[in-house]
Chain length 327, copies 2
């Protein structure tokens, strides 16, 4: 939940005067997203989302995010579209922050994902990976293997406050992932990098769209698959659900085949994805500012997931049996 | 800002299956209201607000609030209307809490009220007071003079943490207000009791409606006027703005005359209203639970307001000069 910055009606009216959005009828701060302040606007032309970009989001990256949404839509991916002002710009400044208005996407994110939801996510992830192939902009992934050491350094001194031995556990895992095992040469492209359930909308059983591209970047496509395995295929008690993983992976590969090298790398990539979210959650957990209006997410959920991936011998443990796959 | 309870999509779908609201297209927790969890729903039939009633709201009072909204609407007051399920009920249970769906009211609450806004509020407050005259239900005001002593007792031991001398200041004021000076015999009726700027919507300069009746009750009508003087007629630095107060009071009296006794009582009622909000804010301030997602409102704002009202000799100090008024 996040509304860090309120916006006065007159400031907003002035901002909207540069757009052709009709008359503003209401705006409500909404409890979605933990990085930015988001408002749902009703105007005489429909519903829109106004985002004020707060901490962690670099202004220089915003054209990448906004451009990607436009690019994906032209390739048939349903996602919010940046609304341009009369000067043709998607990005402005409101309440002292970078701001953008995007179209409102109807749909409901699944609080308790089913195997059917996981199949929908697998399909749309693969379609996004194909659609991103000819996107002209690039953005490095600041939260890949090289980005984990600084997060660990920030969190390690107090990690054992959460769970005795956690700092040592993380140190060993990080040393392993940094020891030259991290894959090279796998197919790369634009990844969403944060495709958690709250970023995927459904209407009934039909996936209606994908939102929140503020972590999108260039990286190995299979790393995005590994992130989704973590985000979608565990139960509320953090136990792995092989039925959901099979549904997710099968749906993905029906649209984009995973190469043998990608399949082999998946358990390692899943460990990397787990430690990435574990570390950012841990830093957030240990640094909740007084009066914060955000409840930090539980880092220990990802300890459980990481321990599971450490036991995985091959992609078949994720329920994946590619046709024609040779062990 | 408040979303205390999240609702799973399947729970919500089941709840909505008892209503004729069409297909659910989205729901977002919204950052409005500090007492309850509120969601903005889009369905194929339009926009609605779903409220889950949390702490401080007694289930037994909900029919009063919901009935009042229906009653006021039939008397021309624009306010949200309870949506009945197919069994004809406005009140249900969702996520373990009493729940109600009301129509969505378009409009924007003024972050920086002008004298024009204050005039709009004065007019609608008087119209509500007239409209409430034949409302058949009653609800005692738990936060009138008899309700302040327990709040003071809860807050006094730590009040000086906020401002040295605050406990003594409050003790003296409370002793005075309890000493038999609190008015008797003034015209009574249904009051809103919480008509702050975030509960009054405007479209352009036109008042589009009034929301949030969860403090509505029976009390002196002039006490509602006194609450609005506190809520609307001070600047951001808590200095009294006589222009706004004049606009508010004149607009009120054009619809409903304030009797001489009401006018005479207004400075005292304004002191009472100030200490009422001061005390509840102070209790909230001193009792923010760890991990609370609500930023408590500043109690000291009402110390400034109370000190001002203590200096007021007559209603004329509020800028009010009733036609034919005799000093």
């Amino acid at each position: 939940m996040a509304v860090y910055t309120d916006v006065a009606a007159d400031e907003l009216a002035e901002y909207l005067s540069h757009y052709d959005l009709g008359e503003l009828m209401s705006y409500k701060g909404i409890a979605e997203g933990v990085e930015n302040s988001n408002f749902l606007l009703h105007t005489s032309q429909g519903s829109f989302i106004l985002t004020l970009y707060e901490k962690r989001v670099e202004r220089i990256d915003l054209p990448f995010f906004l451009g990607l949404m436009t690019h994906l839509a032209t390739h048939g991916i349903n996602c919010p579209q940046p609304v341009l002002n009369r000067a043709g710009e998607a990005l402005g400044v409101l309440a002292g922050r970078p701001a953008a208005i995007i179209t409102f996407l109807e749909g409901i994110w699944p609080r308790k994902p089913t195997a059917g939801h996981c199949a929908g996510v697998g399909e749309v992830l693969a379609r996004m990976h194909l659609a991103g192939a000819d996107f002209g902009m690039t953005r490095a992934n600041a939260l890949s293997v090289k980005g984990w050491r600084p997060l660990f350094a920030a969190a390690a001194p107090r990690a054992d406050e959460l769970q005795p031995g956690l700092a040592g556990f993380l140190a060993a895992e990080l040393a392993y992932l940094e020891s030259g095992v991290w894959p090279n040469g796998l197919p790369r492209g634009v990844i969403h990098a944060d495709l958690f359930p709250d970023n995927v909308f459904f209407l009934g059983n039909r996936l209606s769209g994908v939102i929140d591209f503020t972590f999108a970047c260039d990286d190995m496509l299979a790393y995005d698959v590994a992130i989704c395995l973590n985000a979608w295929c565990f139960e509320g008690d953090h136990a792995f659900n092989v039925t959901k993983a099979r549904a997710f992976l099968n749906a993905y590969t029906r649209v984009r085949k995973l190469s043998g090298a990608e399949q082999d790398a998946l358990p390692l990539l899943a460990r990397g994805a787990a430690i990435r979210f574990l570390l950012t959650r841990l830093v957030d957990w240990l640094n909740v500012p007084p009066g914060a209006l955000v409840r930090p997410k539980d880092p220990l959920e990802y300890v459980r997931k990481l321990r599971f991936h450490q036991t995985v011998a091959s992609v078949r443990d994720y329920g994946f049996e590619a046709p024609g796959m040779v062990a």
